[in-house]
Structure formats: C-alpha cells, structure tokens
C-alpha cells in the first residue's frame, strides 16, 4: 500500500543531547528477556500494527478523484482544529479554538472521515508513547525522557498537529511531529520550538518525501561549494 499523499507532513526537532542506541537496545532486550511482565512490549506490538492499519485507512478515506487542489482544501480545514476526539470516535471539528462556534462550520464527509482517522492515529501514537516511556523506565533507558515528554505534549496542543513523539529508539536526539500539511501549521510548530524555554530546540528543514522511491539515479552531479 502506497502512502503517497500530500495530506500529512513531518517536521523534526534537533534536541540537544545525543544518545547511543546500540547500548539502549541491549538494555531493553535484556529487560525483555528477564522480566515476568513485558506487557508494554506486547501492547506495542499490537499498537504498531494498529498504526499501519490507520495509515492505510487514512489513504483509503481520501476521495479516489482527489487532486492536489482538493487535498489542499482539506488540509486548510483540518489544520485549524485540534485533532482530538477525546474518548469518542468522531472528530469534533466545532471545537475550533478561535471560532464563533456557529453551525455554518460544516465540513464535507470526506474531510470528516479523514479527521476521524487522524484522531485515531493521534490516540494510537499517544498510547505507543506511554508504553515506550514505561518500557524505558522499567529498563532504565531514557526512551522518552521527561524533557521530551513535555516538548511532545506542548507540540500536540497545536491545531493541525496529529502527534509528536521521539522517533526510533528514542532518547535525546530528536523529536518528530506529524502534522496536517500546511505552511501555517509548520510555522506554528517552528515558532513554538524556537521560543521553547526549558530546552534548546532547533527545527530542521527535513520533510516527508511522499513520492520518493528510495534509491534514485541522479542525472545531475550535485555541486558543492562552501567556504571553510
């Protein structure tokens, strides 16, 4: 299944620190081998499978005849709201923070569906965060250190943000955010990170490459030219 869509993008924060993932992996695996209760590991196996299913649902919920323009209209709507369904199943788009809250705020069915799936993705990724953090605490590995937890939570409060988490093996290296792909949401995230007081956080230019196929033959030799 291909996830080639302009609906979502990612942004990465360079967080000061840097961790050694090989030794972190060794500790986690040794905890898993010697512990009686490895429920966070088994929870994660299910949750990760869930993330795969939801990503497929999101792509399926896009109209078959979606164009760059129609996706852009959808992201414009979705980007204005917090993508949180709370304990419910339905994304409540009327909870727009700065709206007048009137009933004219209607969204089309496809946008509502996509919104629902984005809320499910948020909820599932939040659950993976909780389980990863707990697994780290049980094995004395800083998978999601408290500083990262606070930054991720603050980032997830922004409208248009689906989820924010420590990618891969976690640690102090980086923080990733998945967001509804508009320049406005990216600017808001950037602004939060640049002015974040508790921690030195530098936003990076890196983005999701939705149509990248991995290895590419490059007809042009890249040029480098820098003063030392």
């Amino acid at each position: 299944m291909s996830w080639n869509t302009d609906l979502l993008n990612i942004m990465l924060a360079d967080v000061s620190g840097g961790s050694e993932s090989p030794s972190m992996a060794r500790k986690i695996l040794s905890w898993k081998a010697t512990s009686d209760d490895i429920s966070c590991w088994t929870n994660l196996a299910t949750l990760n499978q869930g993330v795969v299913g939801i990503c497929e649902d999101i792509v399926r919920a896009l109209p078959a005849n979606a164009t760059t323009t129609s996706i852009a209209e959808m992201t414009k709507v979705l980007s204005q709201y917090k993508l949180d369904a709370g304990n419910g199943e339905e994304w409540i788009h009327k909870s727009k923070s700065n709206s007048n809250g009137n009933d004219d705020d209607k969204v089309d069915e496809a946008t509502q569906n996509v919104g629902n799936h984005l809320c499910r993705l948020r909820k599932t990724l939040l659950e993976t965060r909780r389980n990863l953090k707990q697994m780290g605490e049980l094995s004395s590995v800083p998978v999601e250190p408290e500083e990262q937890t606070q930054l991720a939570d603050a980032t997830m409060e922004l409208p248009g943000v689906v989820a924010s988490l420590v990618p891969g093996a976690g640690g102090y290296d980086a923080l990733v955010v998945v967001y509804v792909n508009t320049p406005d949401v990216r600017d808001k995230i950037c602004n939060l990170w640049t002015n974040y007081k508790p921690l030195a956080v530098c936003p990076l230019a890196v983005q999701f490459a939705p149509y990248g196929d991995g290895l590419q033959y490059e007809a042009e030799v890249p040029e480098y030219n820098h003063d030392k």
Binding site: V52, G168, P203, F208, A209, Y217, H226
Partner: protein, 302 residues
Amino acid sequence: MATTTKSTTVSAPGKILLAGGYLVLESPNVGVVLAVDKKFYSTVVQRPKTTTTTTKEDEEPDTKKPKVANDTTSMEIKVHSPQFDATWYYLANTTRGTSGSTTTKIMANELNPSSNSFVEKTLRVSMAYLYASTATPFGSDDNINLDITILADNDFYSVTPHLQARKWDATPEKLAQLPKFLPCITADNGSLQKTGLGSSAALVTSLVGALVLSATNATQMDDALRRRIHNLAQICHCHAQGKVGSGFDVSSASFGSHVYQRFPKCLLSDLLQDFDKTTSDNVMSDKTATLLQHLVEESPEN
C-alpha cells in the same frame, strides 16, 4: 580502451521510524518507516588511468603486458568526502586464476590520515560481489581508476553550529537559506551531533548503488536493481557495524516509506563470520564470494 570519464550518481534518502522502535529488532513485529527529502549522494567516476594524478603506490603493475595465468591487475579507488574534509585511497588488486575464478583484494593506503569503516567495508564487499558476478565489471582492459565523491544533505547532522556562526535564528526562512552540503562540524567535545536520520545506512546504500550502476552501465534505477542494491547494502552495513542490525534504515534508503519487517538473522550470520575470518588478508574465498552472490541475487526476504 576507455578514453573518457564516466560519471554515475545515486542518491539514497534518510528515514524516520514513526512506530516500531526496539520491536522491529524481532520478527514478525512491524515498524512504520518514513523516507525523508534529505539524502546522501554518491558519485562514482570511472577515470582512465592516464589522466589520474593521485597515484600513491610505488609500484603499479605493468598493464601493457597481458599475462595468461594469475594475472593481477590493480585499480586505484579514491574516496572524497568534502564535508568531512577527508580523502581516502584504496587499491583494488584483482587476481584472475587459471580456473577462471577472480578474487579482489581491497587495501587501504597506509598514508590515509584516517579510516572510515563504512566506506572501506562497503568497498570491500561490493567489489567482491561485482567481480564474482561479472569477471570484468569495470572494462576488460583494467585501465580504469575510480574517483568517488560522497555528499550528505544538511539535516543528517545538527545545523545549530552553522546557525550560531551566522548569528541566525532557527526560522524556516533562515534554515532554507543555509548553503547545501555544509561541512560537518564536530562539537567542542569532539563528537558529531547526529539527528537520527540514518546517515550510515544512507551512505552505504547510495555508495553501493553508485558502484553497481557504474559497473553495469545503467543510467536509470528499476525495481530489480533496487532489490539487488538493497540486498548488497544490507550485507555491507551489517559487516561494517559488526552485527546484524534491524535493517529498516537500509530498507527505507532503498525503497522509500514502507511497513518494515526484518529479514531472518540466520541468513547473514554465516556470511558475516566468513567475512571476519578473512579480514586479516582481505581476500575472500570463492565459497564466500559465491554465497555473497547468491544472497544478493536471491531475495533474503523469501
């Protein structure tokens, strides 16, 4: 005889593992890995020997006199990393036995100021594969040297030192204004601050890709080539790391975003043990080379 230089560039993207940290180490757990727009670029230039200016070895074999048996020819490989301000020289000595078998030995030049395990081991395994699958991957007259250049997009390493040096704030506009392929600056404590995009996997995968395409004269990528380069890059990356890693970073560098499930460990451990046994003299046995060729050309995931 080769008279003109031929240049081949292949890129491989970095990755972000959105879900599956630690669990992807064990099959059948899945991980969601996203490819990003930041890449490593490797360029392989086949340069006729007459134009080379970088011969550092005292004795070059006389290529003018063809020998019938135990013919050893020598190719110089120069690897340049402008961002690390480093150049490494290697010699690839190829011996063609009377039985038709070919062995290639990669030797790092003693004068190299530093060594790079990922570059050196990728060269070693890739050349062994290329010579095992084709008797003359770089032309029949052995009149070629290789000049390789490796470049990395900025975000693989922290850009904070570059922003600070310019007294710039970390705004999207300023980030976009940073020059491409900035030098990799080490912190005061000598460490290089990585951002976790998988630099070593993107490096190895792009380098293997450029070597394979250069040797096969391909000027476009297709699924069969991607598969073969992926398999070879996984082997090179494991060999350079000294262990069988999870493999999702090489996989996304090869195929882009996907749901990852790891390959069986047992396939590679025999081969890696063989590699390590032959490290001392750098010559790979025919048996090892045949196993290598088999693993690259058969899909390890089947």
